[in-house]
Each structure stands twice: as C-alpha cells, then as structure tokens.
Symmetry: D2
Subunit: 191 residues, 4 copies
C-alpha cells in the first residue's frame, strides 16, 4: 500500500485544481493511499510527509520559478534534509502559469534539484508531446509538451473554473497515476 | 554601425526561417550591418564573429538541448573563449521545436551560460507574453511566452513552408531588432 | 552617472559580506552612484530600483535556489514587471552557500530568467576560472569557476567573519565593478 | 539480476576514469551486471541499452554543457525515444571539468531533462556535501557538493593519472552502487 502525498501552493485556485487532478490519478491506482496538503497547512503534516512513499510537489510559476509560499516550505524542509528522512522516496512535480511556456520548465528543474538534495528519486511524465503536429489540438494529452513533470496553462483573466483546461487536468492525473505505479513497484521490491 | 551576426543550425529548415526573421529584424534598425552564418560554414566565419558587436545563437531543441551540430560549434569556440575575444559582445538566442514547451527553455539557458563563459552580455526579448488570456490566440506576438530569447514551434509533420507561423517569425524579428538597438547603444557609449 | 542598486537577502551574514563587496566594486568605478538594499527594507526602495540603471540581485542558495525571503521580493516585483519599468536596466547576480558547488548555478539561472522577464540585460563575470590547475589555489580570483555571476562559499560552521574568504569577496568586487562599467557605457550611449 | 550500462564520452581520459569508478560501484552490488560503453562504440550497443535496467550517462562539461560527442549520441537516441523503449529504466549522470563549479550542474540538468523525455526515472547521489565546513577537505566524499549526480574536477594541466582525485572517484563509485541498488529494488518489485 503506497502512500502518496501532494504538497502544493495555489495563489488563485488554478494550481489547486491541478493538485486535485494529480490526487485523482494516484487514487485510481489500486493499493494507493493519498494525502492532499495545501502548503499553508504543512505544520500539521511533516509526519505525513515522513511516512509517505512518494511526495509530489506543486507550485504556480511566478516570475520564472516556484512561488515564495512554496519556497518557504522548501527552505523549512532543511530539517528532514539534514537527517535525510526523505531518502529514496519517489518525487515528482507540477506547475501552472498563464503563459504557454512561461519558464515553467525552470520550476520543474528547481523542484527536481530540490528532490535530489533530499536523495529522492525523480519521476516525470510518460506521455508523448501533444499538439505538436498538424492534426494536434489543445485538447491533446500533454498538449504543452512537458517531460520533467506536469505542465498546465490557465488564462490570466479567468478563474479556476475555466482553467487549467481538461487536457491539462488529464495530464496531471496521469502524473499522479504514474507516481503511484512507480511507488508501488518500488515498495514491493523492498527486501 | 553595429555589426550583428547570427550563427545557427537548422535540421529541417524551420530554424533557418527563424534565423532569417532575426536578420530581418536586425536589418530594420538603422546603422546595422548583418551576417547570417549557417553553422556548417563556420570555418570561414570565425573572423566575422570576432569583428561582430553582437552574436545571436540559434539552434533547434533536440532531446531537450541544442543540437549536436550546434554544440560542435560551441565546443570549437573554446579557442576564442581562451583569449576572451568575444568579451563584452552582445549575445542572444533563439530556438525552435515541435512541442509547444518542449524543454525549449533549457536550450536558451544553455546558450546564456555559454555566452556568460565568453563574458558576453545577454539580451532577451522585451515582449509581454501573448496567448495567455481569454482573448489571446496563437497569432499573438510572443505567443509561447518566452523571455530569455525567441521561441518558435513548428509542427512535426510539416516543412518550413508551414512553420514557424507568422507570430513566431515576428517574435524572432523583434529579437533581432532589439539586439541591434542594444548593440548600437552600447557601441555609441564606448569611450 | 550610473546608478547601481544591490538588493540582497542574507540569512546569517555571509551573503551580506558578499553584497558589501559588490558595492565596493561598483563604487570603485568613477561616475557611479550606489545603493545597498537589504531585501527586508524593500518597501522603502521600489523607487530606488525604478531610478537605477543597474540592479544586482543577491541571495544565499537554500535547498538549491534563492531563499524564500528573496523570492518574496521577486514575486512582489510583478508590479514593475507588468509595466516593464525595469526594461533595459543592467542586471547581475551573486550567491553564497556552504557547499563548493551546492547547486549555486541554479540560483544564478533563476535570477537571470527573472531578469529576462523584466527585459533587463544580463551581465556576468569576466574572470577566467581560478583553482583549476596544478598551480591554482582557493586564493585565486573566481576560484569556484562561475560565469553567470559571482559565487561564494562559506563554511557551514563559521560566521561571516570567516567566510566568504578574500578571493570570493574580490570576485564579488569584480562583479560590482563590471556592472558599473557596463551600466556607464550603456548610459553614455543613450541618444 | 539488474543490468546497469554506463555510456560516456571522455576527451582526455578524466571522464573515462570517472566512468570506470561508476562501474566499480555498480559491480560492488550483488546481483548486478554491468556494461561500460564509450560513446564512439554506441553503434554496437543500442541493444545493450535496450536490455538495460539502468543507464548512467557521463560526459565532460565543455563550454557549460555536455560535449558535442555526447550530444550526438543523445540526438541519435530520438529513435528509442520515439518508441519509448527506455521507459521506466533508471537513469543517472556524472560529469567532470577543470573548474570547481564550472557550470557542471547544467550538464546534469541537461541529462536529467533528456532522461525525462525518455520516461526514465532519475536517481542522484545520496551523499551529504563534503568540504563545506572548517574541518572539511578536498578528500571528503562529495567534496564538490553535487546532488543531481556525481561531479568531478580535474586540473586543466594534468592528465587522467592525476585527476579526478580519489574523493571524486569514490563519489562516482557511490553513484554506481546507488543506481545498482535502486535498479535491483525496482526490478524485484515488478509484477
């Protein structure tokens, strides 16, 4: 029974929708226990993270990297870092911003480096890029063409009821399912 | 009279279109002299680069970073690096790939780090992101939302006659014009 | 008369020493006016930044990227970003951490992407790498071999009286001087 | 019995020493089968990679990213990418350069993004940083303070008999052992 935790920050609700989709994906994998943790409730959840087999990190991309609110959590994790409590947990990441590209990749790189400092094992998407040919559309899975994690785009002038759009949420679901699959396999292989 | 050189690689012709657009942009700025250098002709052009006030680097994004052909040129530049011949030249970059995001940002980061090793001065775009709101479209300038340089997306199943699309080419033109403006101003300020 | 501002965060005083060294370097260039702004006093200094010709960003590297305190400032700058008030200002960056490498480069990349979003112009170091050959030592200028900006390393168990060491501080001074030189030249070239 | 392959390029022999150390580490883990593949012999080894449970990528850092020779291999892997043949294999990376920092992190990021495109699972080091306190020295394990993979530094004026130094080689050994451990556990958990 793999335990998957999602820790996320959301400024306007878009990234929260993406986080919920990741959880839905993880829940769809048999034998998975999930926890959705808004970063402002982290104080009650350090032990949840300690017990988790996988932690998925989610943040909007603000000015080219993870939000200050999410970075506050990352910096506070120097305590479990020092004891390497998260070693060998599966890690993954997702991010949302208004621009199509919007330097979102840099947030995923930041999260992957962070996870590496914790000696975690990084799992990305396993989806070919969508919307990259003449028959493609924004409704394709992985329509933004990310690999290190799940990307979403939400219009700057619309609330979370309008974005991320369905294809981005399905992409996030796949990330959650993939992490659950990998975490379960890795757990099953433990001596 | 600022001299602007564009060095680029193009596998299938898409990045070549983007390179030509960058040159058009630079040419549109009064007092600018331009040179378009396909990377396979670099052997005849090291002195052109040495004489340039600005060098703009362009490569497709293959497997998440600049193409091997372009990297061959980058590695060969260890000679001018050793003598710091390119010091204080203006630098900029552009890249094309089939995916919307497609890890293109990583190519621009790679080029910016490369330019920093040469003690060059990096100029990005000065365009707000397009296609990031409910009234936006793929026809917006900077529709992909890049900042470190000019991004373009071309469908995987179409030739350079179909992509990059007009908005991406205009974005590339703006990068060329901006580099020419900055190079001219920087040149005018030299004692 | 170029105006150079340094905005920085320092958790334990090491990065503050580096910031002071950057200011010393900028002050050493004739015709330069400097401002040293701790990030917790930023509220009184948004107009200082608006008036500056160059802004140099400094942060410790915590868990692989800029500190949450510094990121709070970066996120708050979305206001001048929206109006592109910092467009064409010179930008640069510096960072300190306890490890020799310690993912410091990622902080500089984060700052360079941030500056690009503001349409600023990025200036790195112009120093060859030190301590990279059999005659080298930790006393060499640029002993850590950075290019995108100034790197410093301070021991985890010592205060700012012991680190950054002299070579790192001289490297920071060179960054400050270089930014002042480039800012003055760029200013002189304005029509 | 996990199969671990190391694919590497080495310009002057330093990275080859690092590659051999990675193999030694992997060989030290019971139930591991290893293959050391110089990148110029890759044509005979695509099936070795296809059969591997883990692939570790190694390249010198030239001008801030993986060498052109290694990038040629990366670009050629677009074939197994297209069929996602390497999906769920464990991936890791190592790099060497003459500078202490020398933008080596950017090579590891480049390799991690590359691995993510192949839907591989990224494993970094599990070593705390060395040489980061007043009692530290260059003889510490992970003396350069890397996390995404194994870093090594070799003096520019010395051959592979002098560098990478013993601590860097032991760090590389640990990466190899860690990858073998994770690959074996992941393999054991497969249904």
């Amino acid at each position: 029974m793999a335990k998957v935790a999602v820790v996320y920050h959301s400024g306007y609700g878009h990234t929260a929708e993406q986080a919920k989709a990741v959880i839905r994906g993880a829940d769809s994998v048999a034998g998975t226990n999930t926890n959705l943790i808004p970063v402002d409730q982290i104080e009650q959840h350090w032990t949840t993270l300690e017990a988790a087999d996988a932690i998925i990190f989610g943040s909007p991309t603000y000015m080219g990297s993870a939000s200050a609110q999410f970075k506050t959590f990352m910096d506070a994790s120097s305590k479990p870092w020092y004891t390497q409590t998260w070693k060998n947990k599966i890690a993954a990441g997702f991010t949302n911003s208004a621009s199509q590209n919007g330097d979102k990749l840099n947030t995923l790189i930041q999260l992957a480096i962070f996870a590496a400092q914790h000696s975690m094992i990084w799992v990305g998407l396993d989806l070919m890029p969508g919307n990259n040919n003449s028959k493609g559309s924004v409704d394709d899975l992985n329509r933004l063409g990310g690999f290190m994690g799940a990307l979403a785009q939400s219009n700057a002038d619309q609330g979370p009821e309008a974005g991320p759009i369905a294809s981005d949420l399905k992409t996030a679901e796949r990330l959650g399912a993939r992490v659950a699959e990998v975490a379960n396999q890795f757990l099953a292989g433990r001596k």
